[in-house]
């Protein structure tokens, strides 16, 4: 699993945010469009694309997209 592919999947859950801002180090909870619905979309995307179950608390404990990528990767 490549981090760039994960970032692309992550970015695809947003509708009004410039895709350019999504980098490994992006603090995703600071993105204006971030909401409870995007949290659910990320959980569902990870389940769908990577067959990994993550919880709301996993997202809460991650700061950057890379943090979340590492959590997903560790469970594959």
């Amino acid at each position: 699993m490549e981090i760039q592919e994960f970032i692309n999947c992550f970015a695809a859950q947003f509708d009004d945010t410039d895709p350019e801002i999504f980098k490994a180090e992006t603090k995703f909870r600071e993105i204006e469009e971030w909401s409870s619905l995007t949290t659910l979309a990320i959980i569902a995307m990870v389940d769908d694309e990577y067959k990994v179950k993550i919880k709301g608390d996993d997202i809460r404990n991650a700061q950057s997209i890379e943090d979340l990528y590492n959590i997903v990767k560790s469970r594959m």
């Binding site: 409870s36 619905l37 659910l40 979309a41 569902a44 389940d47 919880k55 709301g56 608390d57 809460r60």
Partner: protein, 248 residues
């Protein structure tokens, strides 16, 4: 003492009795002198409920109601019921763009198809006494409102709501009443899989005018009301139990 809300001596079948609203309903009904048949999938949890029932003569039936054969077996075991309470149910929190056939089928199967078909089979086999009361657990979700990621659950509960009205009409001539209760969020383990965090739940609680989630027994009391003869002239109705949630 005069008590029109009594369910003493009534034979009541409760599904989903191993936890949450089903467990509380079973326990409260037993305290009020009903004779219970409870079903659930988890033997340990079902036994825990069974051990908490007051009185004698209750029966527990281990079964997965999604299985048609299991339903047929249960229907054969039951007889002369005065009430059915369909509590088995679950939710999947999924944004609509991730809804898929497998998940949708699973939610509809447990929350809608199974209670429908069990009711149908019990009625066809004339296992319900005249004056019997059937109670479904619908929700505020799918009837009055929904929640993010809740489209499949809402659909299943909305379907129950429609079913209740049609069933109520068709069964009125048999003297059988059909109603549902529509709870807001109740303190059960329905979100135990952790997709919704405890922090989010704590925040959500504040949106309830009565300032907390409901307790399972508070839904049980409404169910008992609908099972009792006090509601002999109530059929096809929704009983909202939501701490004022849908007022806002």
């Amino acid at each position: 003492m005069f008590n029109p809300f009594s369910i003493e001596g009534k034979a009541i079948f409760i599904t989903g009795a191993s936890s949450g609203i089903g467990r509380a309903t079973a326990i409260e009904c037993s305290k009020m002198g009903a004779l219970l048949m409870i079903s659930g999938r988890n033997p340990v949890a079902l036994q825990e409920t069974f051990d908490q029932l007051e009185g004698n003569g209750h029966v527990q039936i281990l079964a997965d109601l999604v299985d048609a054969q299991a339903v047929a077996n249960i229907v054969d075991q039951l007889s002369a019921l005065d009430g059915i309470v369909h509590c088995a149910g679950f939710t999947l929190t999924t944004p609509f763009q991730f809804v898929n056939e497998r998940d949708l089928s699973a939610v509809m199967q447990v929350n809608f198809m199974a209670p429908t078909l069990i009711s149908q089979a019990l009625i066809k086999k004339k296992k319900l006494n005249k004056g019997a009361s059937i109670v479904f657990i619908s929700s505020v979700s799918g009837v009055y409102c929904s929640s993010v990621g809740g489209s499949m659950y809402s659909a299943s509960k909305g379907a129950i709501n429609g079913l209740v009205k049609g069933m109520a009409l068709d069964l009125a001539s048999k003297g059988i009443r059909v109603n549902c209760v529509n709870p807001g969020m109740i303190d059960t383990n329905i979100f135990s899989e952790g997709i919704i965090t405890q922090e989010q739940l704590n925040e959500d609680k504040k949106r309830y005018p009565l300032n907390r989630y409901g307790k399972p027994e508070e839904v049980a009391y409404a169910i008992i009301y609908l099972l009792s003869d006090a509601t002999k002239w109530i059929t096809g109705s929704n009983l909202l139990i939501d701490g004022g949630y849908t007022l806002l």
